[in-house]
Symmetry: C2
């Protein structure tokens, strides 16, 4: 299924034909048959003789045998639906197992997904630009991925565990020279790229250079936001990923049963009914899942290195105020109403996080799908059906994680801006790295500031100067 679309091929593939009522404007090669985008000339190069189409990303839509035998008597539409359902259950179950295994397992999961997504996207570029003869292209792409990960994750580790790194003789060098090593690695990559430039392939090589960098932007930066969310607390990571999954599933279900009005030309199978239904379901889901997760310290506490315990502090933490019950005064009208029905109340106890979750749910259902539309557009541009064929009926990894990138970036920034409380631990790392005289400067400035607030008497400190 996930093969480069052949322009001259009139055959639609199964999946697209099964749901014609959902996609009035589609019908597989989706009237792009009349497409005159000259850019495609280089992709399909001189008709169909090119090796491009044959060498397209593998994709056979393999269905596990057991599923195949169970579903063989169903109609095509219900069969595809059942397969998708079973696979979804499997994926969700494995996700919960990883959640139980803890933050390190989740970070490894994100890393693994990143590698798979990168490889899927790079392979498409490799095939579409027919770069089989290009020297070093694959090696360089992966080199840039390693460099980008070294830099981005290094920055994150320093942010998160700087104090720990400073305690070891070896890692202190990593801490001090991290940025310098990163830029040196990157410059070496540029030099290697320039040296690998081969006459007759310049444009192709520069195009792939750009392609690799945009892929890095999406994949490496996207994965980093998700990893940072894990460190902010498993709650955030779970909320982010599960809201997108929930929205996907409910939008699919609403679309499947009620879908009539097409939403956007890019994804002919998406309908307004699915978009709205998925949004409402996600909003409800966010309130329920938040009220469950908020009970567990294991989920809501950020993962930080604790100076006192000399270890990771996951289970003992002071909760962020958003995870603590607060009193909210009810609007006058609601108070009157409750009085009438015989339940006099003026305030209500709620977790402030509930409101944040609802806002994020709204974002994930209104804007999140644009990540999917972006991916759809990309797939159409490059004439592929799916990014890969890992999950029967689901496509490749990138097909499942297209919306996670945009959601992860937005949610992490949201948490960093509106939720996170400045963390003294990280600051102390920086302060302890300074010269003692400068530490004294900081101490005295801090004393002055706190004295100004009437919290401390600084004279006793000054007397020690």
């Amino acid at each position: 299924m996930s093969e480069i679309r052949q322009r001259t091929s009139g055959e639609g593939d199964g999946a697209d034909k099964q749901t014609p009522h959902l996609s009035p404007s589609t019908g597989e090669p989706d009237s792009e048959d009349s497409d005159n985008d000259d850019l495609h000339d280089f992709a399909t190069a001189k008709g169909n003789k090119s090796p491009l189409v044959q060498a397209a990303p593998t994709g056979t839509d393999v269905t596990p045998e057991i599923l195949d035998s169970v579903t063989k008597n169903m109609s095509q539409r219900w069969r595809s639906y059942t397969i998708r359902f079973v696979l979804s259950i499997c994926m969700i179950t494995s996700f919960f197992v990883l959640l139980y295994l803890g933050p390190i397992a989740l970070v490894l999961l994100v890393m693994g997904i990143q590698l798979k997504c990168f490889s899927e996207i790079i392979n498409i570029g490799y095939v579409v630009y027919r770069s089989q003869n290009l020297p070093w292209f694959r090696t360089l792409s992966w080199y840039f991925l390693v460099t980008a990960n070294y830099y981005i994750n290094g920055e994150m580790i320093i942010d998160q565990f700087g104090v720990l790194l400073q305690k070891t003789d070896f890692l202190i060098y990593f801490l001090t020279y991290h940025k310098f090593i990163s830029i040196s690695l990157y410059v070496a990559g540029i030099v290697a790229f320039v040296c690998s430039l081969k006459k007759k392939y310049y444009l192709r090589q520069f195009t792939l250079f750009g392609y690799t960098h945009v892929t890095l932007l999406v994949v490496a930066v996207g994965a980093n936001f998700l990893t940072r969310l894990i460190f902010e607390g498993i709650f955030w990571f779970f909320l982010c990923t599960s809201m997108i999954i929930c929205n996907d599933i409910w939008a699919y279900l609403f679309g499947f049963f009620f879908g009539k009005t097409p939403l956007i030309k890019l994804s002919p199978k998406k309908t307004w009914e699915g978009y709205i239904g998925g949004g409402i379901a996600t909003l409800i889901y966010s309130v329920i899942v938040t009220s469950i997760m908020v009970q567990y310290d294991y989920l809501v506490c950020p993962i930080e290195y604790s100076l006192e315990k000399d270890g990771l502090s996951l289970d003992e933490c002071i909760r962020n105020p958003v995870f603590v019950l607060a009193d909210y005064v009810l609007p006058k009208s609601v108070q009157t109403l409750l009085n009438i029905v015989g339940m006099p109340m003026t305030t209500i106890q709620m977790y402030p996080i509930t409101f944040h979750s609802m806002f994020l749910a709204a974002f994930s259902s209104l804007i999140g799908p644009f990540g999917g539309f972006f991916a759809s557009g990309f797939k159409r541009a490059f004439r592929i059906k799916d990014f890969g064929d890992v999950f029967p009926g689901h496509g490749g990894f990138m097909d499942r994680f297209d919306c996670q990138v945009i959601m992860g970036a937005f949610m992490y920034t949201y948490v960093a801006t509106f939720i996170r409380i400045p963390n003294p631990q990280k600051l102390l790392t920086t302060i302890f790295a300074m010269q003692p005289e400068e530490q004294l400067t900081v101490l005295h400035a801090l004393c002055d500031n706190l004295q100004g607030k009437g919290l401390i008497d600084c004279n006793s400190v000054y007397s020690l100067r």
Copy 2:
């Protein structure tokens, strides 16, 4: 001159023909005539009938009239040389005027150059991918440039002038919500891009999306590194830019007079003689210019907001140790030698910065030119002669600043890693933004640390708890 190279055109343009001995492998359409890179098919699309070639970036190699009349009796080679020389002198003079005007003028200069470079590169993409009919492409490109600049420069301003921002009622919001505003702007850009996707143009639009992002990476990030260098001290900015200019000029001169051995196929006019001669000249230049600049506080002091003075502290500063004379013990062999010639010396006084300058000079002459090769490769890939025609004989802005990007990034990282001393001012910004209780936590942790070093007695501070 800066027009898309016509594959079928046999005519070389003037400049290339003047120096045939420097470029044995060239001769304008540089044997790429036999090029079979299919990717070019979409650029030159169906021969020469396409509007592409006509609509190529403007470029007429205009020479100012006065220069024209003075040089009209010279031979082509010397004429081109004289024009280039006079223009170089003008450019260098204006640069010194800006240097005199101070850091703000320099920042504005960098900003202006950034805009011009971005517009040059984007125009090439616009023409090469024949995107005249693409809805919103230019608007979106500039929108992403504004967003990238808002984010990158905002981060820099917060780093540099956070304390100042916190003092004003209005700018504190900018400080607090900066990252969130940035990601929201960016997500809005992605949504707009998805909405602008137009059937038949998908591949072209995605290609240009990638093209814009890579341009942003080069231009906006490059400009930001240079701006940050200005804040680290005008010394660094001047050293960075002038070393590249010096290397350019001397490599050109050495190549012009002694050049025989071609260096790299990408830039047929570059020779080993120029590369090595330019390198040696830059090394000597770096020592001389450093020993001059190091005399002026105006140049070596970082530009920071001073809490005490409530203003920018440019003229009153404690010099970084690298700008202070230090004694270096001479090697035994040199001591013996000096004894023999009757100049007994065991130590020598030098500024430590001299060694740093020499290392950076070596980088700028060995690796810096790869920025130029990269740009050459890009120009060949897109079949253009120059990025623009602003400077007769010099091409466009991007032609002059191709090496500055790589050098700026490397030098800033070098300064941040090996030169800069942690600055208490920036830390205090962050500390003062915290809750008073957390400020107390920091105070006590800091006290403990300093007590451990025997610098302070913390009991007096603890008694206030």
